[in-house]
Amino acid sequence: MPLEVDDLTVELGGRRVVDGVTFTVPTGGWLSVLGPNGAGKSTLLRAVAGLVPATGRVRLDGEDLCRLGRRARARRVALVPQRPELPRGMTVVDYVLLGRTAHAGFLAGYSRRDHDVVRTTLRRLDLLGLAHRELTTLSGGELRRAVIARALAQDASLLLLDEPTAALDVGRQQEVLELVDELRRERALIVVGALHDLTLAGQFADRLVLLDDGRVAVDGDARRVLTPETVRRHFGATVRILEDPGGVVVIPVREPVRGRDPQPITATPKTRPTR
């Protein structure tokens, strides 16, 4: 299997934040990592990217990522962070060019090929028109595309997405995930993404891993993982699951409050105070 994560464990401050996680993802596959807040989703992605000390094994195309240096690793694994740092005054094209750092000559001499890759990436992500805009002037959706463009410019075969749709409206959420889906098909990328939205996670990923307290609680396809019982047990939420041609749909449902009849909402006309 192209991505093999085996018994990955991360301890931070004496606590096991990721605890013996094991999974595999085939070439061109999309794995969504789910879980309640604090379950260890982001830490798992950071461990795969080599950003936190971890034990266990991460192999990509048979190569042990833990043995690679930073540059070599950055040519194989690209991370789209949840809250990227946006250098003030930096333009989109210069930001995307940062994705070529691991390919550039020693001391960041960018080659013609680096510039060609950036140009191709900007064109593919429909960012050419925004190339000279400053990052801080972009809308939420445009900014996400710029961050994804930087990751794509790394030319890595594994794309890690940490909450790529956070703070986006529903249209931009779909747009970003459709884009990632198209890119992974075009380039046979392996995508591992942490997502909060259970419906979107189920509809875009081939396989889901649900983490709770750092451990894999359930894994499998959306129909196996996204059940009312699983969601109640691990998220403490009441949901209904609907079948749709696009995949399963998870709808949060408010439980009726016992012993209290719903009060009709009535509008009381304002009366002008009499003098």
Partner: protein
Amino acid sequence: MHDGALRTARLPLRWGMAAGGLLVAVVLLGIVVGPAGISIGDVFRSLVARLDGGEGLDPRMEAILWEIRIPRVVLGGLVGAALAGSGATYQGVFRNPLADPYLLGVAAGAGLGATLAITSGWTATWGPVGPLPLAAFVGGLLGVGLTYLVGSAAGRTNLALILAGIAVAAFLTAVQTYVQQRHADTLREVYGWILGRLSTVGWTEVVVITPYLVVAAAITVAARGLLDVLAVGDEEATALGISPARVRNVLVVAATLGAASAVAVSGLIGFVGIIVPHTIRLVVGASYRAILPLSFVLGAAFLILADVLARTVVAPAELPIGVVTAFFGAPFFALVLRTTRGGMGDAARGR
């Protein structure tokens, strides 16, 4: 947009040529301005004579030109380049547009070293180097070393280093003030050094600091692209394939070497390390791939120009050059902030 119009922040040719042209013009101005009337034609005649062995100017004018004017202009250029280049590097490394080359205790350490050299009457020399620059240089490096030592104990993060720099500078300044107060007879000399000056004895200072400046400039300019990578924070920079701590250490050492050697021969000249990179940033954008090389060139031009003013405003007396850089630099800076896009400027608001 047409694909061919895609511009990255490589140093734009027109800016590079404009900065180079300005430097050449300011160098010529620095050479011809002074009590002894030397024209641009004289400068070229003397230069040609030196190259092909023809007849130059009369010996007195040759001496003024080659032993007084040109060394002083060259020294001003080197010191200005070092201060502006180091300032830009520190700003990139610490991700703070208001960081200056004296941030980590170079100034306080050099100040203490210089004060000790002046008050003790040391006569130790190192080759052609006198006790004052030697003590200032060593003091500056020790100041930064102490900051690193204190900062390491607190985790060696950016914030820890900056706070350690403040603590070390305060401590060394206190010691320096104490030594200064105990030797009131040398107060004027110490004060003169602290205000900064560009007085030369022939080419000695130029020869002494050039190797350090060349090393500092070569490292920082070569690594300018990595300063842009540091701008996205340590974690993202690591994910992009660099070691932020290693890059930071190399660049801080290089920038400190430049700042310490500049301080050693010129005293404390304030403002250059902030005003020059900051003005460039407001005009050409936030990428250090353009800011850093331009800082070296325009820092040189700025300090040569400031020195021309220091020599001429109250001639035949001289103003301390630090007074000139602040007096003319601050209003110019305010003007740039007002007239540049973004009003007060994004960089001024911090990141």
